[in-house]
């Protein structure tokens, strides 16, 4: 490389920096606007939850409440079993999600990493599971759970959530499992590892980022689900937060401030869980890199 070339490239670099700075500015502006659009609903929800029914409909929907009605929260928390619903939401979501991600990981491992003839057919079977509209399934499923005596039982929900989220979870896992190099298992087998050991000790940690991703997605879906809950569960002691929200929607009138407060209460735990898990995506990669 001679001197002139070097100079030219440096000059280019400087221009590049200028351009880069402007470019970054625009980039951040765009990213910032998107971020605002995405976070605004949460802020709005909190404002909304502090309003009275009057304010919700009369004043501008974006105005601040004249005097914040914190009692909306106390009303919600003390009325209609919300704390019980909250607890139910947590454990039903948690059990279903763990079950789904675990079972889906096993299946995806068998489909993508193991050698057998029917794997594509089985994968196809899972994919078709994505395509049935939920409302077509409630009458058949109700009958099924009735026959095996699981109506009004949380297990009906857990099984349904797991089954209906499996296709999506497997699809997402699939894309990642196929990118893992074959050498990983080959090396392990030469070392004399059993297949279970390969799955638990190598594959699961390696797929931590995508497992966290599916964990988050499943968690959100189960947490907000209400069609199955309403249909399968009739006892108050198994109902969840989404039912609590519906209970504030009346026949002729609706207490919107209370709905807002319930929504805020219901989004908080999932927000916290999300922030925590979201970091796992990155941590998982780091762990995987060390292994790899």
């Amino acid at each position: 490389m001679n001197g002139t070339e070097h100079d030219v490239s440096r000059k280019n670099n400087n221009e590049g920096n200028m351009l880069g700075k402007v470019g970054y500015g625009i980039l951040y502006l765009i990213l910032g606007i998107i971020a605002f659009l995405q976070i605004y609903p949460l802020i709005w929800l909190v404002i909304f939850s502090l309003k009275s029914n009057q304010e919700v409909f009369n004043a501008s929907p974006f105005a601040l409440p004249i005097e914040p009605r914190w009692e909306n929260y106390t009303t919600v928390w003390t009325q209609g079993n919300i704390s019980l619903y909250f607890f139910n939401s947590v454990w039903i979501t948690l059990v279903s999600v763990i079950l789904t991600v675990l079972i889906a990981s096993l299946a995806t491992f068998a489909i993508t990493r193991m050698v057998w003839k029917l794997n594509k057919l089985v994968l196809g079977l899972f994919m078709v599971g994505l395509m049935i509209p939920v409302h077509s399934t409630i009458i058949p499923l109700f009958n099924f759970f009735l026959n095996i005596n699981l109506i009004d039982h949380p297990l009906a929900l857990i099984l349904t959530y797991t089954a209906f989220n499996l296709p999506l979870t497997i699809m997402i896992l699939l894309g990642f499992y196929t990118t893992l190099p074959r050498e990983i298992e080959e090396a392990a087998i030469i070392d004399g590892s059993s297949i279970h050991r390969i799955f638990v000790q190598i594959i699961l940690p390696l797929t931590m980022p995508v497992m966290s991703t599916t964990f988050i997605i499943n968690m959100i879906y189960n947490w907000n689900e209400f069609v199955f809950i309403n249909t399968f569960i009739s006892s108050d002691r198994f109902k969840t937060l989404t039912v609590g929200i519906q209970n504030f929607i009346g026949q002729y009138s609706t207490d919107w401030g209370a709905i807002g407060a319930t929504l805020v209460i219901s989004v908080l735990p999932i927000l916290i869980a999300f922030v925590f898990l979201s970091n796992k995506i990155v941590e998982g990669i780091a762990a995987g890199a060390v292994k790899g």
């Binding site: 409909f57 109700f142 109506i151 000790q201 069609v227 009739s234 006892s235 002729y252």
Partner: protein, 441 residues
Amino acid sequence: MYKKKVTAISLLLMMIVSIVLSACGGGGDEDNAGTTDGGGDDQKTVKFMHLWPEGSAKQHNMIVQDIVNAYEEENPNVKVDVEVLSNDQYKEKIKVLASSNQLPDVGLTWAAGFMEPYIRGEKFTSLDDVLEGDLSDSFVAGTVDAFSSNETAYGLPLELNIAPIYYNKKIFEDNNLEVPKTFEEFKNVVTTLRKNGITPITVGNREPWTGSMWYMYLADRIGGPETLTNAINRTGTFEDPGLIQAAEELQNLVDLDAFVKGYNGLGNEEAKGPFMNNQAGMYMMGTWELPNYTTNEDVPQEFRESIGFFKFPTYDGGKGDINSFVGGPGVGLFVAEQSKVKDEAKDFVKFFVQRWGERSVTDAGVIPATKVDTAELDLPQMYIDVLDELNNASNITLYADVQMSAAAAQEHLNLIQSLFGKEIPPEEFAKQHEQVLEAED
């Protein structure tokens, strides 16, 4: 490292299994207690499902609970097991339950078109024996009919509503307007309000049953009280000139810019906003709205005092009179045919209806389908006025979407939206109705 992971995962699995199992055990036990109704000492359980959750219908919910408690006290061998769902979820679940023969022993149903498939499928049991004796006299005449099929009652109504036009007296005063007696005067009110920058009428026609009431009144005032009903029960036709003219007049109102901006995209609750905020002059709704203009402490008193109501004006040359109303019974109680505790269920229904009447009007502002003695109750003036109008009513036409079969009602509601949106001419509106109703026959 490996060991740690395995332990962690097996712990996790154990946790899942144990939670599932413990839940299993709990659920199973309870199930047995619930369904084996004939237990040792003759303890019976009546399952009751209603749609007034504490969150959104506190008063209703409380009254139900009180009635249930009172009943259980009087009948120590009967336990009433209550399940509460909100409106939309109730409608969905009741259907799923019916398809699997799992209806609760006692539940709520809507009249006519809604309950027809349940009667046809023999899911509801006849309540004629409950009505025998003094109970049948306590209902307002005709209300039980809406829950009957072939002279047999399958439901006992709890509410009776009519739909007057509520108006803002202050707005009318400020604009030198008087309550219109004729449709011409009414149109004059509309143009005056619009000219002065006030929304004349608010309506949330995203839920087209609200717009349907406007059309029904016009049909009643122009064609007379029977025309629409006859068109629906097929003794008449929807292409009756009166029904077409009513559609025309409705579009004339649209042309006068009578309705709130964007009415076809607003829900009923949203459309109420402008009226509650003194931005709209008139709002037509069932009398279940009365608490908002009388007793509801959440609504500013000044506003409540400025609201009145009037009857839909008469139409020059029309066949209907001013005392004919659109309205009807809301929900009613049914007893399931497959119930194993039918006697207790019927007894509970009877008890419920008797207790409901008085309590619902004083505590929840519901106008019950049972007769109310206004002299003995301390009620706001507006209630007394409405009850008087009810007594003087020459006719009450049941909401069109309730009269029709569910499938025809769906079409009717779509067509109402098109009519309001001026996407369909009046003749076509009538013709399409006629086709739908004819196909059902």
